[in-house]
Symmetry: C2
Amino acid sequence: MQYPEPIAKLIDSFMKLPGIGYKTATRLAFFTLDMEKDDVTEFAKALISAQRDLSFCSICGNITEDDPCDICQDPSRDQKAVLVVEDSKDVMSMEQMKEYHGLYHVLHGVLSPMDGKGPEDINIAALLTRLQKNEAIKEVIIATNATPEGEATAMYISRLVKPSGIKVTRLAHGLSVGSDIEYADQMTLYKAVEGRTEM
Amino acid sequence: MQYPEPIAKLIDSFMKLPGIGYKTATRLAFFTLDMEKDDVTEFAKALISAQRDLSFCSICGNITEDDPCDICQDPSRDQKAVLVVEDSKDVMSMEQMKEYHGLYHVLHGVLSPMDGKGPEDINIAALLTRLQKNEAIKEVIIATNATPEGEATAMYISRLVKPSGIKVTRLAHGLSVGSDIEYADQMTLYKAVEGRTEM
């Protein structure tokens, strides 16, 4: 026996999402049946609208409704620094910190030979063109994740950008604020010792 | 800073689902941006269609496209037994077992005084009317969950149905097949000893 088609289809759709298997998809599908009709309509509209109304900023690659995006259009931002991140969610994290006022560049991925992802598969070429065209940029801050792929991507970009004389920096590695040394992994501890600062 | 409105709305919608917080909702929303356009359209349609095209069977209360549902309409099912479950997902579990060929009755909940849920909030009255009207039914099998609320509901229904002379049974409690006695909780062990069967 199968569920009636309308709910079976909804379960299938939920199962296409990451980390959602058959059991969870079923639970979510049945939950939506009991939701307010307006909420479900909103949900359906939001799904369509997100894909239809959003695009990538032609300058920085961040997700946006208007091109160029708000940050690229904002003259009050520090035009001298570009912070390079893996995806749009990282831009949001940086903005929530409220202490960075420069520009961004979103790579939409990292170099990952294991997954067949080379430099032409991520937004690196646009970064180089941008640096060539825009002489105001004096520093590229590489903020890829602290994973092997993130490190490799940082290294790769650094090698391409440095010859042009632009300063290339990388986010600091070390202990998380509020964390115990006892629970830090060895690589993090090593980076914390190596990158120690004078008091 | 906020995400652009289309994605912020989508995140809000995902957050209305059970067990999905801001971080997961964000991950899911960004994932749908990269999905095939057809899949997203399907998803949106399925959301609307599930609520619009499904209703509850007027006989058994199970979720269905047609009223009465396929099971209630099927003359080859054993008309003498009605298995009472908490929700439509339980009907599916029973059907997947493939060994039960009788009818169902879906309560859509359990008695739960803590949540202010009394007999009139679940589908009990319809069960009693059904038993009165349909003299073919000889056995009511109560298959509510083995939780305190499920047990209380089973007891309540049993007391209402028994006076009419219809046999009332309850699913067996005991060890799960393939499980270790070592890991069974004490209540389950007690039920297993109490309900032991002759070999």
